[in-house]
Symmetry: C2
């Protein structure tokens, strides 16, 4: 079974939701047969690469809330994160464009390191002091921590076209699947779960999708040219 | 859409079938949205690692055919391979245990190099003079040609348990899906195609599976804690 998770590094509920999903997955009897793929979604795709500002400033400017309201939201998120055992800096976090991180996540997918890298990006963005925005070498350092090659990560960052189409394809697919926000979880392309739901909801969705896995229909074709325990069939009339 | 292909490196029809499938995939309008995963299947799992013999000898001993019949089969396979543009040595090929190659293919999957490695293994086994059996350093060389790290490949070969469970899990799954021989193609776990069918059969299966992709059902849960273009929802009662 395959679970695809659309998320953004700048999305606090994605950080929390991933932990809740993983709690359900860890307890799922068929967890070894579940493959997780991370898909790209940008909450703020219009923001320029160099445009970095404190989260509280962004919240007050973009959504017109007061600094106190914005801070209360961050404090609540910090509490929810702590309940999942996650560190969360409720003060002085930055907000910025995440496109380059998504491009690196696609490089990491190609190198079998995606799950490592997204965990490292989340922790860096939500829990560590050094900002993840506006400093390519910081991203290279995080990529290396996930097992990627520094020069390869640097080359991706230096070429704005590298994996850009993959990020946009993920985002197009999110729209096609009806995802307006993230995190958005898709199980075997059959069941969708929107938001950082409690672990029990993920557990139920996993069980449901598992129980309803599709049955295989054999496509009719000509006599199979195949090899088996009794040798390789060699049809005479082909 | 995802296509899983069960195959063995020692399976001539897998080599030919992969080329026929790829011809259909190259012409498929949604090819960029098709992910291909290779799964393990051993035709001769009982053969000891060091037990290597000429293919013709294996065929006469195992299936009781004459050397002339065995050679005629190889010649026919050579013709079928050539029709797909594939090189095929019809003389002096070796046969042996492929478990280690499957373990390396799982390492390659984890590193995003599986498709490269299986192509290199097929070419080495069917078209090149140096045998792929009984020489770990030959396998390391091929793994490096696929972009894997030599030391990492060597470590996998030195540890018989490395990726062994992954190979066996693939083989168990093949049995559960009803695959008695290879190649065996599974599209979105919905349609199966057995054997090195003509490209047209694969084209039809791709179109059919694409047209019947499942629709997404949203699992009901509590109010979504999610982030979207309008900010991050913070339900008050949680």
């Amino acid at each position: 079974m395959r679970v695809e998770i659309w998320s953004d590094i700048a999305c606090p509920w994605c950080y929390v939701g991933k932990a809740r999903f993983e709690k359900a997955l860890d307890a799922f009897p068929h967890r070894d047969e579940v493959e997780v793929v991370h898909r790209s979604f940008e909450l703020d795709p219009g923001r320029a690469k160099g445009d970095v500002q404190p989260v509280i400033t962004m919240l007050t400017k973009k959504y017109g809330m007061s600094a106190a309201q914005a801070q209360a939201g961050e404090d609540n998120l910090g509490t929810q994160a702590a309940a999942e055992g996650l560190a969360y800096r409720t003060r002085d976090r930055d907000h910025g464009n995440t496109f380059d991180m998504h491009r690196l996540l696609h490089l990491a997918k190609a190198r079998g390191r995606q799950d490592e890298l997204i965990g490292i990006f989340y922790r860096a963005n939500f829990a560590e002091e050094a900002t993840v925005f506006g400093d390519d070498e910081r991203l290279v350092e995080l990529a290396v921590a996930a097992g990627l090659d520094a020069d390869e990560a640097r080359a991706v960052l230096a070429d704005p076209a590298a994996y850009a189409d993959d990020v946009r394809a993920d985002e197009r697919e999110a729209a096609e699947l009806g995802a307006n926000g993230v995190p958005f979880f898709v199980l075997d392309r059959t069941y969708g779960v929107s938001g950082a739901q409690p672990a029990e909801v993920f557990a139920q969705a996993l069980a449901q999708a598992w129980g309803e896995r599709p049955q295989l229909t054999l496509v009719q074709g000509e006599d199979a040219e195949a090899c088996g325990p009794d040798g390789c069939a060699v049809p005479q009339d082909r």
